[in-house]
């Protein structure tokens, strides 16, 4: 899987840009606020249909313009695919080979990305919401049914919460209706839960291998899914989930919202049996974040048969030599990679030599240096 070209129209600070790519390794160099990250953002948007920086699509339209367009041609085995996203006041239109896709679930997954950014540390260090977002985006990338189930779950959750709130005002409770909302919620909760548990199970295998390697076989990483329904995941079938909800009717009615469910779940990260989010050193937390992100490359390859595109936003020069080498091992010569950096001095010479380097200034490419091409070697 390779991105052959990228073109931007009225996207953030870019008026118009066309770039062709012929290499596996590509580096965007420039000072801050020149538009390096925007290039990665546009690739991320083309894959996920959302930006990793903002939840408001309109933020992506260049100031004083009415619409924004991003387009890429990618090569997927023998197939050439043209993907396009147009964002305007009317919303977002996505198309594949000039055919508009009405459902986002029919678009997402055409190609996959793994983005490495300074915020990755949030997955390890911060609130559960960061970890849930990680689960939903990464599983959703490879499963349109997961996205559908998640959307359905959120719709029912909204209705259920609204109903719980309304009983406080109306002072009457229609229990058969509450039962139905609960049953519907549980049906989707179970599907999402199973998919997440399966994902964590797979990630455990890949991530532990990578973590062991980076830590020179001193550390073992283990991920554990924490369900708000029960500590014992093996006992969670549909009927049990419904039972748990029913036992909590009083609390839900009192609070006027649904207290349990996959919207309250989390996963914990253990290094040598110690919760690294709370007790880990800065170094251990960084290694853990890197290991779980790197493990996604193998995960996506196994799920989809294709390698993802890897995006490294301002993180490569932050990594020490060992971690840079580890990253390079995972990427090998199979994964097309886009790197942003303000300075090449922190990046291993081995990587620099092989890369095409694009110099970015004020929303333009002002220079290009071609590196040795893996394909040609």
């Amino acid at each position: 899987m390779d991105i052959k070209s990228l073109s931007l129209l009225n996207f953030r600070n870019y008026s118009h840009l066309d770039i062709k790519f012929s290499n596996k390794l590509n580096i965007f160099i420039g000072n801050n606020a020149q538009g390096k990250t925007t290039l990665l953002e546009s690739i991320y948007l083309l894959a996920i249909s959302k930006s990793h920086k903002t939840s408001k699509d309109k933020d992506l339209i260049k100031f004083n313009e009415s619409y924004s367009k991003v387009c890429t041609v990618l090569k997927k085995s023998d197939l050439e695919l043209k993907l396009e996203i147009i964002i305007s006041n009317q919303g977002k239109k996505v198309s594949i080979n000039n055919v508009e896709k009405k459902k986002i679930s029919e678009y997402i997954g055409t190609f996959n990305v793994v983005m490495f950014a300074p915020e990755d540390l949030d997955i390890v260090k911060r609130d559960p919401i960061n970890r849930r977002k990680f689960l939903d985006i990464e599983i959703g990338q490879t499963s349109s049914i997961y996205i559908h189930n998640l959307n359905q779950y959120n719709k029912i959750l909204k209705q259920r919460n609204e109903y719980l709130k309304s009983t406080q005002i109306n002072k009457t409770i229609d229990f058969p209706y509450l039962d139905i909302l609960t049953e519907q919620l549980a049906i989707y909760a179970e599907k999402i839960l199973n998919k997440r548990i399966e994902f964590i199970k797979k990630l455990n295998v890949y991530a532990n291998k990578i973590h062991e390697h980076i830590s020179n076989y001193h550390e073992k990483l283990y991920l554990e899914y924490i369900s708000s329904f029960s500590r014992d995941l093996s006992k969670l079938n549909l009927n049990q989930i419904i039972e748990v909800y029913k036992k909590n009717y009083n609390t839900d009615l009192l609070k006027g919202s649904t207290q349990m469910g996959i919207h309250r779940d989390d996963f914990r990260l253990f290094v040598n049996d110690i919760d690294v989010s709370i007790f880990g050193s800065q170094g251990q937390q960084r290694t853990t974040a890197l290991a779980i992100k790197l493990s996604l490359i193998d995960f996506i390859k196994d799920e989809t048969n294709f390698y993802p595109i890897v995006l490294l936003d301002d993180v490569l020069s932050e990594l020490d030599d060992l971690r840079q080498s580890q990253l390079l091992d995972c990427i090998q010569e199979k994964v097309q990679t886009f790197v942003t950096t303000t300075n090449i001095s922190g990046i291993k010479k081995e990587i620099i030599d092989k890369s095409d380097i694009f110099f970015i200034e004020n929303g333009n490419i002002i220079n290009k240096k071609e590196g040795g091409n893996f394909d040609k070697q």
């Binding site: 459902k103 029912i156 109306n170 209706y177 139905i180 519907q184």
Partner: protein, 200 residues
């Protein structure tokens, strides 16, 4: 210069219609004022009043009607042992266009949706339960939409009918007729698999 008051008022009334903007309203009003025959205008005005004054909801099924009860409820050739429950009158009309269904209807006038302020007590359900006491009904077809709200409404009514012994069925959903599998998206395929049935 402004239009005479009668024209301005007509423009104002027309722009209250869905999909009609000020420009279209102006064009329509001028057409009525200058081109339309007086007889046509009179008929138009009469129909406007008639739909508001003479139409009502059928007290039995909730259908829109000018006679009490509605033409479906009055039709003695129809099968009274089966009732299709739909959300809106337009769903009933869509079912009738098919010309294959010969049972009765019940129009809920909406689906339960707390976020839109519609609770279980706000849909046209009491009359359905009343009907079931008096009429000889053997089957209820839940033909509400396949949205989350349509689904919860169908499940809710099915639950209320659990103890009556009446058979409750749900319309099927899945692949479009004549469509190849390879063109269906994954979610539609999944629904088709989940809703599969045995060959009899």
């Amino acid at each position: 210069m402004n239009y005479p008051e009668s024209v301005s008022k007509l423009i104002e009334s027309l722009s209250k219609l869905p999909g009609v903007g000020p420009k279209t309203a102006e064009r329509l009003a001028l057409h009525i004022a200058t081109k339309m025959k007086e007889e046509d205008a009179l008929n138009f005005a009469k129909s406007l009043l008639n739909v508001k004054r003479e139409l009502m909801k059928c007290p039995i099924c909730g259908n829109l009607t000018d006679k009490n009860p509605c033409s479906v409820c009055r039709d003695n050739t129809r099968d009274r042992s089966i009732i299709a429950v739909v959300e809106e009158v337009r769903d009933l009309i869509a079912m009738e266009k098919m010309k294959e269904y010969r049972g009765m209807y019940h129009v809920l006038n909406g689906a339960i949706s707390p976020i839109n302020g519609i609770g279980p007590q706000d849909i046209n359900l009491p009359t359905l339960l009343e009907r079931l006491k008096n009429e000889e009904v053997k089957e209820i077809i839940m033909a509400t939409n396949t949205t989350i709200e349509g689904e919860s409404t169908a499940m809710y009514i099915a639950k209320l009918l659990e103890k009556t012994g009446i058979k409750v069925t749900r319309i099927a959903r899945g692949l479009p007729v004549g469509g190849g599998l390879e063109y269906a998206d994954e979610v539609t395929l999944l629904k088709a698999i989940e809703g599969r049935r045995e060959f009899k």
